[in-house]
């Protein structure tokens, strides 16, 4: 079972895609250009502090709003390993899976979580936070296939025999 440990950033309820990447930066040429502005309306200092392998824990309705796919791409480019939230908005959910960004619903962790602490995630099983275990559901198989391939386009290529493992 895939397992990883990471430092946590805690964000609130209703983190919308305009907060994740504001409209004014969408015209930039690459996601790497944009990523420094990730979450800037809410926490301008955050993007520079995120390190590879960090985890976001948030409240309800993460990713609501615009369908801009740059939102999960920016989060992934910042190095975020996965997002655990009480719930996700559906377009953001699809876009994240399609870009190989792991999202996990967990109803209780957010209420207990303190920013800066670390958690250990065992995919399709549970989260461990300071010895307390928080169960998580298994993702449907078709979504796991997409995430593991690194996104929908690569999953499609792999399925069609264009990419070899």
């Amino acid at each position: 079972m895939e397992q990883f440990t990471g430092r946590v950033w805690v964000l609130g309820d209703d983190i919308d895609t305009d907060i994740i990447i504001p409209t004014e930066y969408l015209a930039m040429k690459t996601i790497d250009d944009m990523k420094q502005y990730g979450f800037s309306p809410l926490r301008p200092e955050l993007a520079a502090q995120i390190r590879e392998g960090d985890i976001i824990v948030a409240g309800k309705n993460f990713g609501c709003g615009s369908s801009r796919e740059q939102a999960p791409e920016v989060i992934k480019a910042l190095g975020i390993r996965c997002i655990l939230a009480k719930s996700f908005a559906r377009i953001f959910f699809r876009n994240s899976i399609n870009n190989g960004l792991l999202l996990i619903e967990q109803p209780d962790l957010y209420d207990d979580m303190k920013e800066g602490d670390t958690i250990t995630v065992t995919v399709n099983q549970d989260v461990d936070y300071q010895g307390k275990t928080y169960p998580i559901a298994s993702l449907p198989e078709n979504l796991v296939e997409i995430i593991n391939a690194g996104g929908l386009v690569r999953a499609m290529r792999r399925r069609n025999g264009l990419d070899q493992d």
Binding site: A27, E69, N95
Partner: protein, 416 residues
């Protein structure tokens, strides 16, 4: 077990007899729409990530430039050129500057019974004609364009019974904002809102678009009305035929039911920075504003322009307010010209703009600066949505926006 309208549309698109909520199906898409928000990304992926790219059916594709039109800087000009060139090369229907994408789709494409993906969150608007329209990202759009198919998780349906009739001076936008305030910003997450009941019969296709369009603001996958005689008349007037007219079965399964009495709805406003922070408009009266916006895929049609023009007629926009009026399409614009509404707006001091998304998406036109306040008929009031992160957006009806533009502070039309 019977099926809802949404389930019947998915079953038809999946080529199966029945579906139920929670099933995952591969579906044939009837149509796909993409705008200049992300089409350049889809085109890049098409060229750079696929070995033998092709388009399953170019006749199903529609590309619309509406977010930054005309282009406001060299970067958006380059993105749009990429989109324009691709559309020409592949013989894809291409619209530029003719209107906001969802308005164009409703005027020219959407038919009852269709399953439509759009790379824009407000694609849910198409339920006003009994179609299943839903927003996706550019990767889903690419997959649909190349394969003609996609996967859908069949959503649960929420039944929204509408009773009564809206009072004078109260609009579908007040109704939908009230519904959003009642059920919350994720109150329908991944679900379908089905609007029905006698109250639905009092609403035109325009009115229904206002309701369906904002359903994504409660997280809904889409919202839908039965394609009744009102919808079919709209369709016929535009020379189109329905794909299929579905009604929900009497024994269809609903996850939840709400009833909204239209006669009890009052003018409301959504306060910054959340769409569900909805209060009676009277509660925010007196808030100083710097800009007012009448337009968007939610509220920029002829009905709303008539309402706004009637309020500013013979009055002047406050000298500290920029009042932006943006018809949702050229068809709407021409109609407004013919009715003298554009002259009325201009005489009042409003700035009338070309059809586009304008300040509703915080780019191109009318962006607001540090600590400025906007009252808007747009779709969202998120933090920084209309410009500077410290700026504030209130959402209200066309009547409230126009009245506020005159007064220079938020007020309802009856307070002028």
């Amino acid at each position: 077990m019977g099926m809802t309208i949404a389930e019947k549309i998915i079953a038809r698109a999946a080529g199966v007899d029945t579906v139920k909520a929670g099933d995952i199906h591969t579906v044939n898409l009837d149509r796909m729409m993409s705008n200049d928000g992300t089409t350049h990304l889809t085109v890049d992926m098409y060229h750079n990530k696929l070995n033998h790219p092709h388009i399953a059916d170019t006749k199903k594709m529609v590309f619309i430039v509406d977010h930054n039109v005309p282009a406001d800087n060299p970067k958006t000009a380059a993105s749009q050129k990429k989109m324009r060139d691709f559309a020409r090369e592949h013989n894809i229907d291409f619209w530029e500057g003719k209107g906001v994408c969802h308005q164009i789709m409703m005027e020219h494409y959407v038919c009852p019974g269709e399953l439509i993906f759009g790379a824009d969150s407000h694609t849910c608007t198409y339920g006003a004609l009994g179609a299943f329209g839903t927003g996706v990202g550019c990767t889903d759009l690419l997959y649909g364009m190349v394969t003609g198919t996609s996967w859908v998780l069949v959503p649960e349906t929420i039944k929204c019974n509408l009773t009564g009739r809206l009072p004078e001076g109260v609009y579908p936008r007040d109704l939908m904002l009230t519904i959003i305030g009642t059920i919350g910003a994720n109150g329908a997450n991944y679900q379908v809102m089905e609007f029905c009941g006698e109250g639905a019969k009092t609403l035109s296709v325009n009115d229904r678009m206002v309701l369906c369009n904002l359903s994504v603001e409660v997280g809904a996958k889409t919202a839908i009305f039965e394609a009744d005689e009102i919808a079919l008349e709209y369709l016929k007037a535009r020379g189109r035929e329905p794909k299929a007219v579905f009604r929900s079965d009497a024994d269809a399964s609903y996850v939840k039911e709400y009833t909204f009495d239209l006669s009890e709805i009052q003018p409301v406003a959504a306060k910054p920075d959340f769409v569900d922070a909805v209060v009676p408009a009277k509660e925010v009266c007196g808030v100083h504003i710097d800009e007012a916006f009448l337009g968007s895929c939610n509220n920029g049609r002829i009905d709303e322009l008539r309402v706004g023009a009637a309020i500013v007629k013979g009055r002047k926009v406050s000298d500290h307010v920029r009042f932006l009026v943006v018809p949702a399409s050229q068809e709407v614009y021409l109609q407004a010209l013919e009715e003298g509404l554009i002259a009325t707006f201009m005489e009042s001091g409003a700035i009338v703009m070309n059809p586009n998304c304008s300040v509703c998406w915080g780019s191109c036109q009318g962006v607001i600066g540090e600590n400025e306040v906007l009252i808007s008929t747009g779709t969202r009031n998120f933090k920084g949505r209309a410009g500077h992160p410290s700026s504030k957006v209130y959402l209200g009806s066309a009547a409230t926006v126009a009245a506020s533009a005159v007064k220079g502070e938020i007020c309802t039309a009856d307070m002028l």
